[in-house]
Symmetry: C4
Subunit: 275 residues, 4 copies
């Protein structure tokens, strides 16, 4: 299995074309954040904006609007009770992320199904957190599975693939991924990505084992898919950069806060865009 290293960042992060506008760098729509887990979608949104996405919209419970704008005025907001607005905002998206802090209620599932059903051929769909659990629990048909990325941790992967954690060997995971037909980012202390290629992250530190780290990774993946060609490599780059920043911060910190990783993205991406 190939191990990710800095090369992937140099290949993926392109220099921005001089003649460009915010549309050039993609439209991302992030769906999640109920009344209990609002912070998750805020962290995903921060990663998405600081990762360089041109336009980022959050669809969430309205209780999360004030905190989002207090932290991140750069993102737009849609109340998830307004289905007319949801349809109009998602239609023009390049990438949709659903799951951070979404919750697992019937309403949450209905929203997930609406998002999945409306997927356009050119759109990427990132399925994270509670959205993975929901797709494992209820039948959902993805119109374009090869434009879908799942980001499970090991327990969510068990729910989705039916493989117990003990059974999650490379061969089994590969079979399950092929059956899904989508990219799988299997998160653990050494994250693996299953797709056309199978790669393993060479980095990762226990200082990153804190709530919100996965939401932040989902936001970076979304941002990279919105901006960079070669989608599988873009996902590899997002996974590697997330850990690279985490390891650097962990040199001085016992625990690394997810939002600190997001804040460091513009500087790290600059370095690799020039090489």
């Amino acid at each position: 299995m190939e191990r990710l290293n800095e090369t992937v960042l140099k290949e993926v992060i392109r220099q921005r074309p001089a003649k460009s506008h915010k549309g050039t760098f993609g439209r991302a729509v992030l769906i999640g954040g109920n009344q209990q887990f609002g912070g998750a979608i805020l962290m995903a949104a921060q990663a998405c904006v600081y990762g360089g996405t041109g336009l980022t919209t959050v669809i969430s419970d309205p209780v999360n609007r004030s905190a989002l704008h207090a932290r991140l005025p750069e993102a737009m907001f849609v109340d998830w009770h307004r289905s007319d607005w949801i349809d109009s905002v998602t239609e023009s998206a390049d990438v949709l992320l659903i799951g951070p802090g979404l919750g697992e209620s019937k309403d949450n599932f209905d929203l997930l199904q609406r998002i999945v059903t409306n997927q356009k051929e050119h759109q990427w769909l990132v399925i994270d957190g509670s959205a993975i659990t929901l797709t494992a629990k209820y039948p959902v048909t993805f119109p374009y599975p090869d434009q879908v990325v799942f980001t499970p941790h090991q327990m969510e992967w068990q729910r989705l693939s039916g493989l117990t954690i003990a059974e999650q060997t490379t061969a089994h995971n590969q079979q399950a991924q092929e059956k899904l037909g989508s990219l799988v980012v299997l998160k653990s202390h050494r994250t693996q990505v299953y797709g056309k290629q199978i790669v393993e992250n060479s980095l990762g530190t226990p200082a990153m084992a804190t709530g919100g780290m996965g939401d932040t990774l989902a936001g970076i993946i979304t941002s990279f898919l919105a901006q960079f060609k070669g989608s599988e490599a873009a996902v590899h780059g997002a996974v590697f950069l997330h850990s690279l920043i985490g390891e650097d911060l962990a040199k001085d910190q016992y625990v690394v806060l997810p939002t600190q990783i997001s804040e460091a993205l513009p500087r790290y991406m600059k370095q690799y865009s020039q090489q």
Copy 2:
């Protein structure tokens, strides 16, 4: 066409008079921010306050009050459903900015028309974002067009001038501007300003191509109009400084956040005020 350079900043940014009070540095009123695009008016307000405006008031949907004050207690707030308060606050303004995150509903248009109709002879009016689209869509008569600045990007300029993006040559733009009788800041990777003079920005970086950058520019323009004599030059200075800071930050960052530009304003303005 003349290209803007640092000279404009040295000419525009004056040393503050020793005997002065906050009224000396202008009263700005910023109108925008519906339930979806609240961040836009927050970013414009931050630019306006950090640009040195004496007093800044935001007229917006009340859902945006908490986030505004959490970020920027220096600004005042008026609920845009309170027309009595709107009239009293706008009457004493030196500059009014309308548009960032305003929205394009009938209510938004009614508010725009109220603001436009109430313009006083000495007041500057900056028309940005959705307010441009609305003035293109519905007939609005500006009582003092030569005290108005429009800040369209190319698509908004198409709506306002009737010129397709391909037709937006210097000569055509100049004709359209003369017909409007107002200053036009035509935003692109090399922003141009059409007025008595036609100038082009020599700076601008694709790292600035991210949501909220235009709202921030609108806030700086508003702040400069509130403080500095020679209004056309003040607009030139605002356009140039916005890009100058953006280019500097982009030396170390792949993407520049709009709010980072606002935060840098006091230090940059100090440098040019002394030259």
Copy 3:
């Protein structure tokens, strides 16, 4: 007229006693912040907390609670519609500040009167902003005028003293202050304090002429009265330190944000406490 200098800080700011608790450093209660001017009371509260007050409570409109706690979890909050809570909180205060962003409605006046009437003999009362205008407009009897500080700017002083700005000479101001029987901090580009002594601030920069600067000064005065003996000197120290920090920041900044002054208080106060 004596001019304030660093000596006053060395005299006023004492080294904290080793055996102490938060009660040792005073209880401040700050009243203000309606639905339009909430930022004012937030800025006063930040100055009060960063100035070292042991316990700070804000009594305000409930729309301001979220922004206060997002910025300053160190402060406590009381909804100003709850008169029972107001009475219990104010009773144990050492200093009360009323006025920043209070507003000038009948309800605001009723609250002012309640606060003034309940003043205890040992309590200091700082009357700022709209509270000055209200006391000029309606008859209010202060039970302990020599425990009151007024902080008017020149127009507010005109309303309170009846002296037009042109008439505000040292002699006239002194007569008006003697009639009031309270300390008067007359704010201008060279603030003067009228009391047993008459002093003039030697510092102050036009970079400080921005909305919220007076609210911040009111918060520092409140904090110094809560902590330091020799109340008139404490007010002198607060006035001087506010400008001293402002001038220092203005060496690098065209405009100084009020909240930046508050953030610098702990470091500046440390320097002078050791001399």
Copy 4:
């Protein structure tokens, strides 16, 4: 009486195991924050997250949700009116902290009793602030008193133990602690911890005597109990580290803000984890 020093930090703060996930570093649930004292639970939560806890949930009045997420998206939130959610969240906790900003109403007591009654054998319970006063006022039976930590200041200890401040000698305190059967962190300018061992903090500065400092200590204690084996030593470590950071910051600051201590935790903990 033994005096705490850096040794305790080297013993308590372990290097994180390479193979781990956020569950490895504990689940903390923090209960408090009414409509008046919301900041207290926000500060406790910040200390808990920055101290390295794997997952932190706040149970509080819903008015505190926006400010919590604006400051700390890493924490999750449960509205304290939802008893079904409370039960499900607390069941899986490793440590529960109740008290910061809780209030002393009948409803607050009912919530306290629900939390105490539901304590599981393996769970630690930290009783702070108003929760101490409530347990002193009303009879509460702790199912596992040896898994309970009380964090009173001297007045709260008087209420809980019946000892007046003058009577709070080491011997009396020890007797009272033995009767309780729980750990007691008796806060003063030299905090003492009563348990199997009796220890005194060698550090502590009057610059820390400001509102919220105790809430922050409670959050650090909770975080250390969630992560580190040898619970009594973990509490010692939390007490010592809180003061150590405070003393360091006080070298440059007249007053130390509680949130500054939390922000410094990751760097300080790193240093001691390597020794």
